[in-house]
């Protein structure tokens, strides 16, 4: 297992020597249009030869989808406008070089979302950044569940704990015009990225994010310490420390482990969120959490034992793979 990891780290560092993260490289290539690089056009089908096998050998599954994402990124076209059949598409020399560099990085198991510098989440597209957690497809399911519950509510004052790229809050704001969101986030890079995403989506008027590390008796940043909310959402780190050895290189090598590490039972951060909710939810306000597989029954027990009279376990819900993962809790 460890051999495997060191190999991918080695590959990464090799890839990175001539690769300065997707965002910067794509901006440099955007300036140089066809005229400066010009030269010969290469058929995309030709450029792709052999890469599918290389990706597979590197342990990347779903190679076709990966290739299509990278092709559309190199051509600067929206993913859903690129045909499944590439026979009509061509790269110029500059694009060909980009294409090969990106695939090299992908073979080193750099996450696809980091390579192309953006990802779709529900109806919005978010910028991604190397040290910020990439939103997962189950989280889309989680957010649509929360949206479903709040779509008819007049006004919602919402708090998100640990917003990362801003995916959950911003997709809520995008779907529901009567929601206002505040977020706290421990990583500086993520705080900056979330604010930037809000601006890109034109949602900055209803979204504010504070750089703050939640600790016991210092749950909220100073300016917010007396604020109360109608709704708190969070996808706290919930991977158990012992599970780290089994994770994919995309996750364990490239992602910010602070966004994943949930301590020995995966609920270290969730417990802090419970305490925060006791102090900062209005009576009758709700706390929605996305957690790991075996957590919801555990949370129910914790609510009964430790939060009797303060928090009330409302229910748990399943993700699209029929895993019990989401919980709703009410402030008494």
């Amino acid at each position: 297992m460890f051999k495997y990891l060191t190999r991918s780290v080695r590959l990464t560092s090799r890839a990175l020597t001539h690769y300065n993260y997707a965002t910067s490289s794509s901006s440099s290539s955007s300036g140089s249009g066809k005229n400066s690089t010009g030269g010969q056009l290469v058929a995309v089908t030709k450029a792709m030869e052999g890469w599918s096998q290389k990706l597979q050998d590197a342990g990347v599954s779903d190679t076709e989808f990966n290739l299509k994402c990278i092709v559309s990124h190199v051509l600067k076209r929206k993913f859903n406008t690129v045909p499944d059949n590439f026979s009509q598409l061509h790269f110029d020399q500059k694009q060909l070089a980009d294409f090969e560099r990106f695939l090299e990085a992908r073979c080193a198991r750099m996450p696809l979302q980091h390579i192309i510098g953006e990802w779709d989440f529900l109806d919005i597209t978010l910028k991604t950044a190397p040290t910020v957690f990439i939103p997962r497809p189950e989280t889309e399911e989680f957010v649509s569940l929360v949206i479903e519950n709040y779509k008819d509510v007049k006004h919602v004052n919402m708090l998100e704990v640990g917003c990362g790229s801003g995916a959950m809050s911003l997709s809520m704001l995008h779907a529901l015009p009567r929601v206002e969101a505040t977020a706290i986030e421990r990583s500086k890079a993520a705080t900056v990225l979330a604010a930037e995403n809000a601006k890109l989506l034109g949602l900055q008027d209803r979204f504010q994010v504070h750089n703050h590390t939640m600790e016991e008796d210092q749950y909220m940043p100073e300016p917010l310490k007396d604020k109360k909310y109608d709704l708190i959402i969070s996808n706290p780190p919930y991977v158990k420390t012992e599970e780290f050895q089994f994770l994919h290189p995309e996750v364990v090598v490239y992602e910010n482990l602070n966004a994943l590490d949930g301590g020995s039972d995966g609920l270290r951060v969730a417990r802090l969120v419970f305490d925060l909710a006791c102090r900062h939810l209005h009576s009758g306000g709700k706390l929605w959490l996305e957690l790991g597989n075996e957590h919801p029954p555990l949370v129910k027990t914790i609510m009964h034992l430790k939060y009797e009279g303060r928090l009330n376990f409302v229910g748990s819900y399943y993700d699209q793979y029929k895993r019990e993962r989401f919980v709703q809790i009410e402030k008494v």
């Binding site: 779903d62 993913f79 793979y321």
Partner: protein
């Protein structure tokens, strides 16, 4: 002096009198009594329509015509009769009356125009909330498929131009960018009234991109329009669905970062399977797949349901013959010719293929023609009620 002023009024009056041999002129007696019967039907319904949805539907249909008719009568009453003008002794007063009459005559002719429009709209038959619009490449091989693709693009931008929602659910394309066939569900209460005139064979004449020797070819593509009756509903139960995604085992969530977003849904009762992978978000793909499944099920039901067969048959009478060649797109002469109406030739083919005003204008012409002929038929078949009563 006075005579010269009166003359145009008289002439207009005579002209209108003369025009009354046209069945759609408002001076026509049969049309007049038809309108009166509509008015009585309207007021009758207004008193008696309690909780009957058909009656309410008819009421709202009639409302426009009857309102226009009432306004017209008010205007008519305001016009001073020629006899009154002659009897008026005061010269200034008489002038005033004449001037007033001219204003009212002008208003009246405008009012007649709106009323005719309302009456023509009344001639439309049943309303369908949605329809299935099909594009199929016809004779002409690859070239026909390229043309089918162009038609497909023209119509989708036309749908957008008209503000109709549409959902594409079956589409087979070729490698060089052609289209074998495509089906699109179009939602919009008025969509059928417009699109029905597009069904038929469309012919293209040009030197194809695929032609090496530079000869001109004639190829075809056909359009089908199947109305969807209001009572066709498909309910999809959650338990009947098997949703397949590639990421199904392991812990999921924060533990993994795989990006598979393709979704495949199997509808267990029918065995229908649909896939979607055109979006990066899995949830979006699932929504897309569900919509496709819904459309496929509706189509299946439509093809088997008797109601729809009848509706299609009815719609195809007259202008909607599937095998009728309805329009020619001649690229060499840069023109479009519709074979069903007088003066149906338009130039600027590129503009036409954008599916905007130009296409919309032609369809409007076709629709007006269709409404006129339907109203004429309606009037011909209509018997004034009192005559019918006399026969008894």
């Amino acid at each position: 002096m006075l005579l010269r002023k009166l003359l145009p009024v008289r002439c207009g009056y005579l002209a209108r009198r003369w025009a009354s041999s046209d069945p759609l002129s408002l001076q026509n007696e049969k049309l007049q009594s038809y309108l009166e019967s509509l008015r009585q039907e309207y007021y009758g319904l207004r008193v008696n329509a309690t909780g009957n949805s058909r009656a309410y539907e008819r009421l709202s249909q009639l409302e426009g015509v009857v309102n226009a008719l009432e306004q017209r009568r008010v205007l008519e009453r305001n016009i001073t009769s020629a006899k009154d003008i002659e009897q008026e002794k005061d010269e200034d007063m008489r002038k005033l009356m004449e001037e007033e009459n001219e204003v009212y005559a002008d208003l009246l002719s405008k009012q007649e125009h709106t009323m005719l429009q309302e009456l023509l709209a009344l001639a439309d038959d049943e309303v369908y909330p949605a329809l299935i619009f099909g594009v199929n490449a016809g004779a002409g091989g690859q070239e026909a498929m390229l043309f089918a693709q162009e038609l497909f693009e023209m119509y989708t931008s036309y749908f957008e131009h008209m503000g109709w929602e549409y959902e594409e659910f079956a589409r087979e394309t070729t490698d060089i960018g052609g289209l074998r066939h495509a089906n699109v569900m179009v939602n919009g209460a008025d969509a059928f009234h417009w699109l029905r005139f597009e069904a038929g064979v469309h012919r293209v004449q040009r030197v194809p991109a695929t032609e090496k020797a530079g000869r001109m070819h004639t190829s075809t593509a056909s359009i089908t329009v199947i109305p969807r009756p209001a009572d066709v509903h498909v309910h999809i139960a959650e338990k009947d669905l098997k949703i397949e995604t590639k990421r199904a085992s392991g812990a999921g969530g924060q533990h993994v970062n795989t990006t598979d977003s393709a979704v495949r849904i199997v509808h267990l009762p029918t065995g229908l399977a649909v896939e979607a992978q055109s979006e990066r978000s899995q949830l979006k793909n699932r929504e897309l797949a569900l919509k496709r499944l819904q459309a496929r099920l509706v189509q299946q039901q439509l093809e088997s349901s008797e109601a729809s067969k009848q509706a299609t048959k009815k719609a195809q009478q007259g202008s909607l013959n599937r095998n009728e060649k309805i329009r020619t797109y001649n690229f060499v002469q840069d023109r479009v010719t519709d074979h069903r109406i007088q003066g149906g030739t338009l130039h600027n083919l590129d503009g036409f293929l954008k599916g905007g005003e130009s296409l919309s204008g032609l369809v409007e012409k076709l629709q007006l023609e269709h409404r006129r002929s339907r109203l004429r038929d309606l009037l011909e078949a209509w018997q004034p009620p009192q005559k019918a009563a006399n026969k008894d």
